[in-house]
């Protein structure tokens, strides 16, 4: 240790980006250009698949924010996916508004419902929180099954007139929904990156790493968790509404499916690399590659997913991106503050 006189502060500069993140952002920009122009070069079924991929990227990124940063391992996010879908359908059917207007409203309603839920769930810790989130989420399909106005157990579909009100031609409609899904993924990740660069991002990373030390250094762990949970619910509700706008029909079983909206999302996040923004993107790519290649093999698909998960947990416990990042120091998004001492 060297003891310096108080009168000799050293000149510093602090930067987020480095060589790795500059290359990373370039790759992201090229990929985005490629994705944005997909309607010009991809066929209809590919567009649908890509749209689905983007919604999974968004959902996984949001779950990663909850579980990987805020320490909230929720297995109940399907509640907000389904709620978003139902809100959009109800609005479209009863208000005559363009269904697209329903997307932000679906987010708003999800966020409002999330507030009492998180205050109840925060009384639970760790595994108990996880179980509690599941129990709360199970209430949703039960309730929606009982409501005749939303079709009970058989659900509701969007009538052709409502669908046409999005855009007159089928192509325009599908392109619009495709771009919305892309925008949703980009905005979700963009917002998470922006959040992580603020001091609240430092608090989230600190809570992820060491809750005791976070509390001892002025960070209000519970308040941070409330804000993150509600914000994630808003975004999850919006993504959910878009998912069911793509599907044009919603049932309680599909809307609140723990398999589709939570189990798959956990698989994606964990094999991609939890606690890193890049993880869910990598994980989604792996998940859909496996799904496309194994689609014809029936239940073998599930077995292979399990084997892949076990293999990655054994060989790369921090996920694929965690492995690469630790080994090569890679970082796509400029998130780390680097200090340079000038003298």
């Amino acid at each position: 240790m060297t003891v310096l006189e108080a009168s000799s502060p050293r000149a510093i500069s602090v930067r987020f980006s480095n060589r790795s993140s500059r290359i990373g952002m370039l790759v992201v920009a090229v990929a985005l250009l490629f994705c944005a122009t997909a309607p010009l070069w991809a066929d209809r079924s590919s567009l649908r698949l890509y749209g689905e991929i983007y919604t999974y990227v968004a959902l996984a990124s949001l779950w990663n924010l909850l579980a990987g940063y805020a320490g909230l391992v929720s297995v109940g996010q399907q509640a907000f996916v389904g709620l978003g879908g139902y809100v959009l359908f109800l609005l479209a059917l009863n208000s005559g508004l363009n269904p697209l207007i329903g997307i932000p409203i679906a987010g708003l309603v999800s966020g409002l419902i999330a507030i009492p839920i998180i205050f109840v769930l925060l009384r639970l810790r760790g595994a108990y929180f996880t179980i509690g989130s599941w129990v709360v989420a199970e209430i949703f399909p039960q309730v929606f099954q009982q409501i005749p106005a939303v079709g009970g157990a058989s659900g509701i579909s969007l009538p052709a007139a409502v669908v046409k009100s999005i855009a007159a031609s089928r192509d325009t409609r599908e392109w619009l929904i495709y771009w919305l899904a892309l925008a949703m993924a980009v905005l979700t990740i963009g917002a998470i990156v922006a959040l992580l660069r603020t001091r609240w991002g430092l608090a989230l990373a600190a809570i992820r790493d060491n809750e005791l030390a976070a509390r001892s250094n002025g960070m209000d762990v519970n308040r941070t968790r409330v804000v993150v949970f509600v914000a994630a619910a808003v975004a999850t509700g919006m993504v959910g509404s878009l998912i069911f706008l793509q599907k044009l029909t919603v049932t309680p079983v599909a809307a609140f499916s723990i398999n589709d909206w939570t189990v798959n999302i956990i698989f994606i996040t964990v094999i991609g690399g939890i606690g890193r923004v890049e993880g869910p993107v990598i994980g989604t790519a792996v998940f859909f590659l496996l799904r496309q290649f194994l689609a014809d093999f029936g239940s073998i698909y599930i077995i292979v997913l399990g084997v892949v998960a076990i293999a990655i947990m054994l060989k790369a416990p921090r996920g694929l991106w965690g492995f690469l990042a630790d080994r090569y120091g890679w970082q796509v998004f400029p998130l780390t503050r680097r200090v340079v001492f000038r003298n």
Binding site: M1, T2, V3, L4, A6, P9, R10, I12, V14, R199, L202, A203, A205, A206, R208, D209, N210, L212, A213, A214, R215, S216, N217, G218, M219, D220, V221, G275, T336, R337, R338, V339, F341
Partner: protein, 258 residues
């Protein structure tokens, strides 16, 4: 002047084990207090009670004249308390620099640029500039201890609670640490330092309390506290009566072994 920290009747037990029994303690503004006691005496627990990561069974704690007994840990930190943990608790996925920035940004609500400069200054003080951009999880134990101190200092605390920061240091490193803490004291910060490296403690603090069995068995100047018969009994197993005779016989330079 009113004490910066004041404990009245503070008690805490875990089941049948009493770690704090009706403790009273006053720390004057700018004072440096050393805390000794055998392993398991409840020293680190007392830090937990003061900083709010543990709750009291009974008693009150006030800080800067304000009753903080029921104030959560995060808020106490923002009032100007900083603690270094005996077992280092780094934010392991963040860089060393970010560890300090996070603490500085929240604990005392400083502006971003000011936090950066403060963190850089403190890292320099603690000999961590070469490791500033390294993930804290990859640090050696010694560097983790330095980071504990650096993170606490970044918050510009009014009260600094140090928990065994000298353990494991070599003699020259220890000498540098002593200079560093003396240097920190000149800024007017109040200090409580738990340490088994007695000579380091004696070189810095004004007063020493010895905690054993949940009570303070000595509260005196450093030299007198470590020769107190009860302290010798606790550490050496010599009954207090005999120890008092030995002390009365005038054996000089007796030190309690660490």
């Amino acid at each position: 002047m009113a004490p910066i920290l004041s404990l009245r009747g503070v008690s805490r037990s875990f089941g049948a084990v009493v770690v704090a029994r009706d403790l009273d303690l006053d720390l004057a503004e700018g004072e440096a207090l050393g805390m000794l006691g055998p392993n398991g005496a409840g020293k680190s627990t007392l830090f937990g009670l003061i900083t709010g990561t543990l709750s009291l069974n009974s008693g009150t704690i006030s800080f800067g004249g304000q009753d903080i007994t029921h104030i959560p840990a995060a808020q106490r930190s923002r009032l100007g308390m900083a603690r270094s943990f005996q077992v280092p608790q780094p934010f392991s996925g963040m860089t060393v620099f970010e560890n300090c920035v996070a603490a500085g940004a929240f604990a005392r609500n400083q502006a971003e640029r000011a936090v950066y400069e403060r963190a850089a200054y403190v890292l320099d003080q603690c000999g961590l500039t070469a490791k500033a951009n390294v993930k804290a999880g990859t640090l050696t134990l010694l560097d983790r201890k330095r980071l504990e101190l650096a993170r606490a200092l970044t918050t510009r605390p009014r009260l600094l609670l140090l928990d065994e920061v000298a353990g494991g240091l070599s003699e020259p490193e220890c000498a540098i640490l002593i200079e560093l803490i003396k240097d920190i004291r000149t800024t007017g910060v109040s200090l409580i330092w738990i340490e088994h490296v007695i000579h380091a403690l004696v070189a810095v603090v004004d007063r020493v309390v010895v905690l054993a069995g949940g009570v303070f068995i000595a509260d005196d100047t450093p030299q007198r506290a470590i020769q107190h018969p009860k302290v010798v009994e606790v550490y050496m197993g010599i009954p207090a009566s005999e120890a008092a005779e030995t002390a009365a016989a005038g054996s000089e330079g007796r030190h309690v072994p660490a």
